[in-house]
Symmetry: C2
Subunit: 333 residues, 2 copies
């Protein structure tokens, strides 16, 4: 018989001893080193909504739960630290699945987190549920000495830049949902959905260099997340969708009627690209960094005055005259 406490011990053992905490797992609360962490984010994955067990291994789910939080910290231009995990698990617990979850979290930590940061388990809570698995992760992070990069500091004239190509995770999910194509032929897209790679290193370096005026990750999809920046900064924007590359495999899938490339690119969530605004004077620095670190960077438009709202040119260069099918967390009626 395995108890909650044993499962938490195993999680604890899967990660390095927590750094930045004097007390981790095993007391009523964790005790942080004074002044170490100043960022907090929280993300939840629900089975059947954010993942399905027939489409994702336990390791993929573990990877994704860590990746979503790493991406939020990266979007603040900061570096990740200790995390706290709440798991609601069906009874009886599938121990192999839970150990897969730990493994996926460890893999994500090893692959995605540069050596300059240490991600570790600071605490957790495991409960039973009669329903689907629910995983909530709270992650602490450190803003760069230059301060956190917010959503609210974009100003007219700033360039709009995306690091990496949005839409691949949404295309990968469409492949898994479709009976019309063989998932094995689109492994790269399926992998983008199962094992998204947030820009942990790039986020930290951009924050440190003070390059972006504002930043967000594209967890909700490019246009929706652009909207979050516009609302927070009280500005408008012109977004040129045609500046974004489209993988040949995605066009093939559109031809096979699996879905719409433009919806994936402009509306698909969970790629965890970084969407930022950059003052023109800092663009040379950004291009330098992109060359130095091998980043794929796309200049996709300009911040405008608030009266201009959000103008979007589609992948064909024409004004977008339709609602893009957007990533939805949630709606209540």
């Amino acid at each position: 018989m395995t108890t909650e406490f044993e499962l938490i011990d195993k999680l604890s053992a899967a990660f390095p001893p927590p750094e930045g905490l004097s007390i981790g797992i095993g007391d009523d609360a964790a005790v942080l080193d004074p002044g170490r962490f100043d960022l907090v984010t929280m993300d939840t994955l629900v089975e059947g909504v954010h993942f399905r067990r027939e489409w994702c291994e336990a390791t993929d789910v573990g990877w994704k739960s860590l990746a979503a939080n790493l991406s939020d910290i990266a979007a603040m231009g900061g570096g990740p630290g200790a995390f706290f995990l709440s798991l609601a698990l069906p009874d009886p617990v599938d121990l192999a699945w839970v150990e897969g979850l730990w493994t996926g979290m460890q893999e994500a930590s090893r692959v995605l987190v540069p050596d300059s940061f240490e991600v570790s388990a600071g605490g957790g809570d495991i409960s039973q549920t009669s329903g689907p698995i629910v995983i909530t992760l709270t992650m602490l992070g450190e803003a760069s000495p230059a301060g956190p990069v917010l959503r609210s500091n974009a100003v007219p004239g700033d360039r709009i830049v995306v690091l990496n190509t949005p839409g691949r995770a949404a295309a990968g999910l469409a492949v898994l949902q479709s009976d019309a194509v063989d998932a094995k032929e689109y492994e790269e897209l399926v992998r983008a959905y199962r094992r998204p790679c947030p820009e942990v290193r790039a986020g930290g370096l951009l924050g440190l260099a003070g390059v972006p005026s504002s930043m967000i990750d594209t967890s909700d999809g490019l246009l929706q997340d652009m909207g979050h920046i516009l609302n927070a900064s009280e500005v408008g924007a012109r977004v040129e969708g045609f500046q974004l590359p489209v993988a040949e495999s995605m066009s093939e899938l559109e031809d096979a009627e699996v879905g719409c490339v433009e919806d994936w690119v402009l509306g698909g969530g969970e790629d965890f690209c970084l969407l930022m605004t950059v003052p023109p004077a800092r663009m040379p620095k950004l291009w330098d960094m992109a060359r130095q670190y091998g980043w794929e960077v796309h200049d996709i438009g300009e911040i405008r005055g608030p009266e201009e709202g959000l103008q979007v040119l589609g992948l064909d260069g024409k004004p977008l005259d339709r609602q893009v099918d957007q990533f939805r967390h949630f709606e209540a009626s």
Copy 2:
């Protein structure tokens, strides 16, 4: 149509502007004032496991979710601060229920939290689920200037002290589960289950005064939580159950075969009493504080050497020769 973002705005509006945070809800991560918070705890409530909608109003559930986290911070001898909320809600969302949840959280904050601390919503995440409601709350807190009170510093000779009477929440739950009695006649016990009152003020004052050598809240039940202190401190203990008062209503319920008083008192969880160890030299200070603040304090035994293990005298004063029916979060086979 109400979106995730609107629900989070309502939660935000229900609490005072966050103190100790320069950025709260509305960015990728919250930004904390440097050095303000050094405690982190996380607790999850699952519908059907930790609460049932037929036994608890939404306001009760909101109260309890905040209370469980407040209790953890109190058990560290600290004071509560910003919290982060993750909600997994069935589709379509019952907006009245969610607003009740906010209300209950506000009520708990108003009633349980002394003016010297400010509890506010720092962020959150709302998801859909096809299953029961899952509520995860992460709370930040501040240890007292004297440092956090851990589980690991009990030493042989320390007195074992309980603040408040354990067992009432478990008796209240038994009333709700039973067909044999009328819940209206046991309102006080039912209320102890629905609206547990953690010792937020007392925990902070005890931490500040440096009275306890170790402390824990009785969320898992007296003996189980005593065991956590013994394991962490590597000591034994003699616990005298007969030192604890038993409400007349609880004896009545035992007579009506609703349950076992001794199980409730020694094994029942979720009262959120404070269980602490106190060096004998500091007992006079504790009695002074109890008089000054009107605390109900019970000296229930002594910390011993590790070789003595956990010796328990039951409510009748005789050595306990049976397994107490304990509060269980979770077991996997």
